[in-house]
Every structure is written in structure tokens, then in C-alpha cells.
């Protein structure tokens, strides 16, 4: 009864040393987050406030987005609207093509990842260079992110060093992180100086001022946007917040949740184009307005992509980002993938023990675990139910709906305790993979009670 997730997870777990490292490293981020969140007595109030603001913004999107557009235009920015990934990619490409731009310095954007922008542009001859170090490492290794905030968390520095020997001519066998960082910085500096356009993601778009806010730790967004005359920024429409006061609530939560820092090293506000330059902002829907209609899952739009649900998820930490079939892994990824295409991505639903840690850690109170439970109820209707699980469920139902049959079964159950090991422990018994089976009692509680033996 395996899913694509469980199969990939089993593969990940073959290397227990790497698994342990992955688990402990991400747990450490969770621990840092706990410390940070406890440094604010008003933490739970902030979470409530943030969740309320998001529910407000997402139910007033039309007004807030138009307000944003008006104010951004007033600041001298040009606002574009993209219905889907295709439109978004085409807008970016046209902007570059019309200006005969060959190289784009790009800072981190999950939206670009969602829309497959890099490959779209590269197929059309644009050199897209990732400037976030983690993303850059992955780009040069031809790999995908395994975490949304710590995209290269699964890569060891030895692997990075070997890649940089090839790509940047670093000293052979020198895997010193400081040395490698300096080399990467030097390499990227050339790109910053020689790019004709910069692209940034957007953490928050402020309706009342028409500005966008980008949070990074490396300053790569700032470097990227400082030189070229063209800055393109794009955001999914749920990134809108009403005003700067609301923004303050989120900037206090974002880094504390995501990485356990009080704030990201850089929180950059972009309002106007630089002198003689252009500032284009693309507002992207790509399925988000459909989620708005979905009462059971609307809170997913609260997500600020802090990534903490991954760090806290006991399954994610022990199975790695690549075990999920969607580009965003972990609890938020499971949910986003189901909203994107439930038939295609239902394999991710097995990656949850319903421990609900994600729902409690989430700074914007997305009920991630509860939503996974609700998605599971849809599987049978979608024709995606696991046949073995269905069979077990129906068998249990038969038994549990018939107390007499159940009680009789309990009478005979202890016989199983005596069965030879090969009958009980074989390939069909997934429980037996690492665990002994429980032993049935000689007399059930029901029987003891009937016989007046409970005193």
C-alpha cells in the first residue's frame, strides 16, 4: 500500500546518517524558532492578529489589489496582471525581449518556481542567474530546492565544494565554508555587475503605499536591483497586506518562525524605479482565486512561506523534500499540491501522522493538519483511495458495526499470539517491518465485565 511519498521516504531513510543529520539540523531551526517566539510575550496575540489580517485581506482582495495598483502607479511603477503561469512567464519574457536583455539576476521567488519561469526564459535564450546562494548552488548542480527557505539544506559542503571546483575553479579539496562563501560571492559579484535586469520575489505588497517588501539574509535582492535599470517583481495575489501597520505584524513573525532570527538581515522596501530606470510589478493569480471559493481550504492563502511547518514536521525531517511529488514539500506543500491538482498529487497525503504540530507552529494559523485530514476524505471520490487502506477500512467497519461479531473475533484473536513468526511477520505485514505485533488479551474487557471480573 505504498505511495510515491512512502517509497521515496524509504529510499531517503536507507542512509540513516544523512537522515539523522537532516532531522537534527531542521529540529535545531525549530528550537531556535521556539526560543525566538518565546522572547515575545505577545506571540500568540501576533499569530491571531496575523491570521485575522490575512483573512481580511483575502476577503477584500479586489479592493486592496486595485488600491495597490493605483498607489504603485503613482510611485512610477508599472503594474501587470497575470491570470496564470503562462501569462506571467510571457510578461517577463516580453519585458526582457523588448529591451534586448540577455541576462537576468534573480533573487529567490517561489512564484517563479511555481510557474516554471526559469526554464521558460532559458529556453528562449535568457540567462537566468539565481543569486540566493542556496538557489545558486542548486542551479549549478541542476537540482531542485528541497525546502522553501533552506533550499539546499540536503546538500553537504563537500558536494558544494566539488561543484565549485568545476564551476568556479576553487582549490581542489578545500571545503571550508568561509572560503567557499567568499568564492561564491566573488563569482556572483561579476553577475551583479553585468546583468541588464533584476527580478525579485515579494514577501509582502502594501496596498496603502503601493510598495513591495523583500526579505533576504544575503542582501542579494538589493545587490541585484542596484545596478540594472530594469527591476521586475512578481507576487501571488495573496501577498497583499492592507498597510504598513499590518506589515509590521508579519515582519515580526516571518523570520522568527522561518529561521529563528528576530528579523531577516535585509528587509527592503521598493517603491519607485531608480533614476532613469523602470520598475515593473506583476500580480499573479495562477489558481489562487479558485482557492478563495474553497471554504475548507481558504486558510491556505494565509501562508507567508516561512517554511516552519517543514522544520517541525516529523515526517518531512525524516523523509526529505524530494520525497514529495510537488515542488513545495512538507505540510504546506501537501496542501498546495492538492489544491493545484488533487489527482496528480494525492500521493503526498500519506506523509502525515496527523500530529498537528504544523497547525500549532504556523505563524498565520493555517490549519494544515486538519486540512490534510479533510483532503483524505476526498480521495475515494477522486478515485485515488488506496485499495488496501479501503479494504482495511471496510473490513474494520464491518466488524465494528457488529458488536457480536467483534466480540467473537476478540475471543479468537489470542490465537494469533501463538502463530508461528513466518505467518505473522512477512512482506504483507508492514507493521512488522520494525515492530513486534501487540498481543491480544486472553479475555477482552467486554468479556471481563460480563463475567463480573471488573471490580
Amino acid at each position: 500500500m505504498s505511495t510515491r511519498h512512502s517509497t521515496a521516504a524509504a529510499r531517503f531513510l536507507k542512509d540513516r546518517e544523512q537522515e539523522k543529520w537532516h532531522d537534527e539540523t531542521l529540529w535545531l531551526v525549530r528550537a531556535k524558532r521556539d526560543k525566538m517566539s518565546r522572547s515575545l510575550p505577545e506571540w500568540e496575540t501576533l499569530r491571531n492578529l496575523a491570521a485575522s489580517i490575512k483573512l481580511y485581506s483575502n476577503s477584500h482582495l479586489a479592493d486592496l489589489l486595485e488600491q495597490f495598483e493605483k498607489n504603485a502607479a503613482g510611485n512610477g511603477a508599472i503594474v501587470h496582471w497575470a491570470k496564470d503561469a503562462e501569462e506571467y512567464n510571457r510578461i517577463v519574457y516580453d519585458l526582457l525581449k523588448e529591451r534586448n536583455i540577455k541576462r537576468l539576476a534573480k533573487s529567490k521567488s517561489m512564484l517563479a518556481e511555481e510557474c516554471g519561469m526559469n526554464s521558460y526564459l532559458m529556453e528562449r535564450g535568457i540567462d537566468v542567474v539565481e543569486t540566493d546562494l542556496g538557489e545558486r548552488i542548486l542551479q549549478l548542480m541542476h537540482l531542485k530546492p528541497s525546502h522553501i527557505v533552506l533550499p539546499a539544506i540536503h546538500i553537504k559542503r563537500q558536494q558544494v565544494g566539488e561543484m565549485m571546483e568545476r564551476e568556479m575553479g576553487t582549490e581542489k579539496g578545500n571545503f571550508d565554508p568561509t572560503y567557499l562563501t567568499h568564492a561564491a560571492r566573488k563569482n556572483l559579484r561579476e553577475i551583479f555587475l553585468n546583468s541588464d535586469a533584476a527580478m525579485t520575489g515579494v514577501n509582502f505588497a502594501v496596498a496603502s503605499t503601493g510598495e513591495i517588501v523583500v526579505c533576504t539574509n544575503e542582501g542579494n535582492a538589493d545587490m541585484g536591483t542596484s545596478f540594472p535599470k530594469l527591476h521586475i517583481a512578481a507576487f501571488g495575489l495573496e501577498k497583499i497586506v492592507p498597510d504598513l501597520e499590518a506589515l509590521g505584524v508579519f515582519t515580526r513573525l516571518l523570520a522568527r518562525s522561518g529561521t529563528g532570527q528576530p528579523i531577516t538581515s535585509y528587509t527592503s522596501h521598493y517603491r519607485s524605479p531608480q533614476n532613469g530606470g523602470e520598475f515593473h510589478i506583476i500580480i499573479v493569480d495562477n489558481g489562487r482565486s479558485e482557492i478563495l471559493k474553497n471554504r475548507e481550504h481558504i486558510r491556505i492563502l494565509n501562508c507567508i512561506r516561512c517554511g516552519e511547518c517543514m522544520n517541525t514536521c516529523p515526517v518531512y525531517r525524516r523523509s526529505g523534500g524530494y520525497s514529495y511529488t510537488y515542488f513545495i514539500p512538507g505540510p504546506i506543500g501537501i496542501n498546495l499540491s492538492m489544491l493545484k491538482n488533487p489527482k496528480l498529487y494525492s500521493d503526498n497525503l500519506s506523509a502525515c501522522s496527523l500530529c498537528l504540530s504544523c497547525s500549532n507552529v504556523c505563524p498565520v494559523k493555517v490549519d494544515l493538519g486538519e486540512q490534510i485530514y479533510r483532503w483524505r476524505q476526498q480521495l475515494d471520490g477522486l478515485g485515488q483511495a488506496n485499495p488496501v487502506k479501503k479494504q482495511i477500512s471496510m473490513g474494520l467497519k464491518y466488524l465494528m458495526d457488529r458488536p457480536k461479531v467483534f466480540n467473537t473475533a476478540l475471543k479468537f484473536a489470542p490465537l494469533a499470539n501463538q502463530m508461528p513468526r513466518f505467518v505473522l511477520y512477512n512482506k504483507l505485514n508492514a507493521w512488522g517491518k520494525g515492530r513486534e505485533l501487540p498481543h491480544f488479551a486472553k479475555k477482552s474487557f467486554n468479556e471481563l465485565w460480563k463475567n463480573n471480573q471488573v471490580k
Partner: protein, 246 residues
């Protein structure tokens, strides 16, 4: 106060001694306890697997069985949480208003919040590590979830503190999941086993002789790993400790 004892299916079948200890304990604190015969299951296993609709008859049956009682009390936080959180929604399909949800308690919650005994006769001269189970913590508020910025509390610890001779510990990752999760344990066996191994190791590192908690399902899962690997720790349901000497 008439208390209906709720004995979930797997406790009925595998851990009847947990049911017996629950009965004794409730009696000892002065409750009028009864066990409505022929209970089966609350429906959680099928629901968590994605077949919530199939639990309707089970939820309805529980409504009938416990109609006459002021309280429904059971020694399994997860099953109690399922009745409390999910039965109302399941029964709504048949336009039935769930009455159990408002009067069901995990036995620890019931003792701690309703009965509030000042003392117990229990004695257990052992080191125990508390297993703060996911649904006990995050659905029934048996202790402060580690994710939340609220003052530490633990109802299980408070109850265990009434036991003579006991030494109480908690694991470092205080309320991380043991990896049971119902059918999760067989659909994702590798991850599930890994979670149980890590959890048991965390409990062992406290120096405890026993893992104790309000959920026999988590204890059963960890017991599976302990037995397979011959690990130096035992599991015991909290009511079996609280009911010693009765």
C-alpha cells in the same frame, strides 16, 4: 454523577487491564461508574485513512450507548479527541446533534479538571518518562503544546505528582509524535518506525524505567519497537500507575 466508561476497541482487545484500572480509579474517587456493554470503535481508524463517512454508524451507536450518562470517560486521549472534534461533523450528515462531544473526557482530563482529587493512594517507586501524545496535547490540551508561547503546564505530570515514590521525567523533544498515526504506521512504515525509534531513544535518555501516557495507541507503537530491539524501557498506561494499590 453517572460516568459511562468508554473502552476503545484496541484497549478492549489488547489492554483490558487499562480498562480495569480506569474503572477502579474512577470508583476510588467516588464516581458512579458503569460500562455500557458491547462497545466497539469510535471510527477514528477509518476516518484518518479517509473514510470518515463509514464511521457514521459507530458514532451513532456511541450516542445511543452513552445517552444516559452525565459524563463519558475513556483512557485514550486520541479516541476521546476524535469523538469530541469529529463526531459532531460526522453526525451532522444525518442531522443528528452530537451529545457525546460535550460530555466526553479523557480520564486524565476528567480527574484533573472535574474530580480534582487532593490525594491518591497510589505508590510507584519508579522513574517514568511522560509521553505527551499528539492528540492529548494538541486537541485535548492535556499539556502546553511546545509550539505555543503559553506557560508550561502538564495535567499528566500534576496527576503523577500525587503518586508516592515516583520520579517524573519528560523527553527532550517534549511532544514530538511517536509515528503511530493509525494507518500511517503501515502506509509509511519506514518513516513511522524511524519516528518510534527516535522517540523511544529520547525517553530512554531521561533515565526512566517506564514510558507512561494517556494513549495506549502510542504506547503500543513504541512497545513494538522496544520488543523488536530489546530496549531497556517498559511502557505503562498512566491509569495503571494512578490505580496502584486499588
Amino acid at each position: 454523577m453517572k460516568v459511562g466508561l468508554f473502552i476503545p476497541c484496541y484497549i478492549n482487545a489488547i489492554y483490558p487491564e487499562v480498562g480495569v484500572a480506569s474503572y477502579k480509579l474512577l470508583k476510588a474517587v467516588g464516581m458512579d461508574v458503569d460500562y455500557p456493554l458491547d462497545q466497539t470503535c469510535c471510527g477514528q481508524p477509518m476516518a484518518n485513512a479517509g473514510f470518515e463517512k463509514e464511521s457514521y454508524a459507530m458514532a451513532m451507536r456511541m450516542e445511543e450507548l452513552f445517552k444516559a450518562y452525565d459524563y463519558v470517560v475513556g483512557p485514550s486521549a486520541s479516541c476521546v479527541a476524535f469523538v469530541k472534534e469529529y463526531h459532531p461533523g460526522i453526525l451532522k450528515e444525518g442531522n443528528h446533534v452530537c451529545s457525546n462531544a460535550g460530555k466526553i473526557y479523557d480520564i486524565c482530563e476528567f480527574l484533573h479538571d472535574v474530580v480534582k482529587p487532593a490525594s491518591l493512594s497510589a505508590e510507584f517507586p519508579h522513574k517514568v518518562s511522560i509521553h505527551n501524545s499528539c492528540h492529548g496535547v494538541r486537541e485535548l490540551n492535556l499539556s502546553s503544546p511546545s509550539e505555543r508561547n503559553i506557560p508550561y503546564y502538564n495535567k499528566l505530570r500534576n496527576l503523577l505528582a500525587l503518586v508516592k515514590g515516583i520520579e517524573i521525567f519528560e523527553p527532550k523533544r517534549i511532544d514530538e509524535c511517536c509515528g503511530f498515526g493509525g494507518m500511517f504506521s503501515i502506509e509509511e512504515p519506514e518513516v513511522s518506525v524511524c519516528m518510534a525509534q527516535d522517540k523511544v531513544a529520547d525517553h530512554i535518555s531521561t533515565g526512566a524505567e517506564y514510558i507512561t501516557g494517556a494513549d495506549s495507541s502510542c504506547l503500543m507503537h513504541m512497545q513494538g519497537v522496544i520488543e523488536r530491539e530489546n530496549l531497556p524501557i517498559k511502557t505503562i498506561h498512566i491509569v495503571q500507575i494512578l490505580a496502584t494499590g486499588l
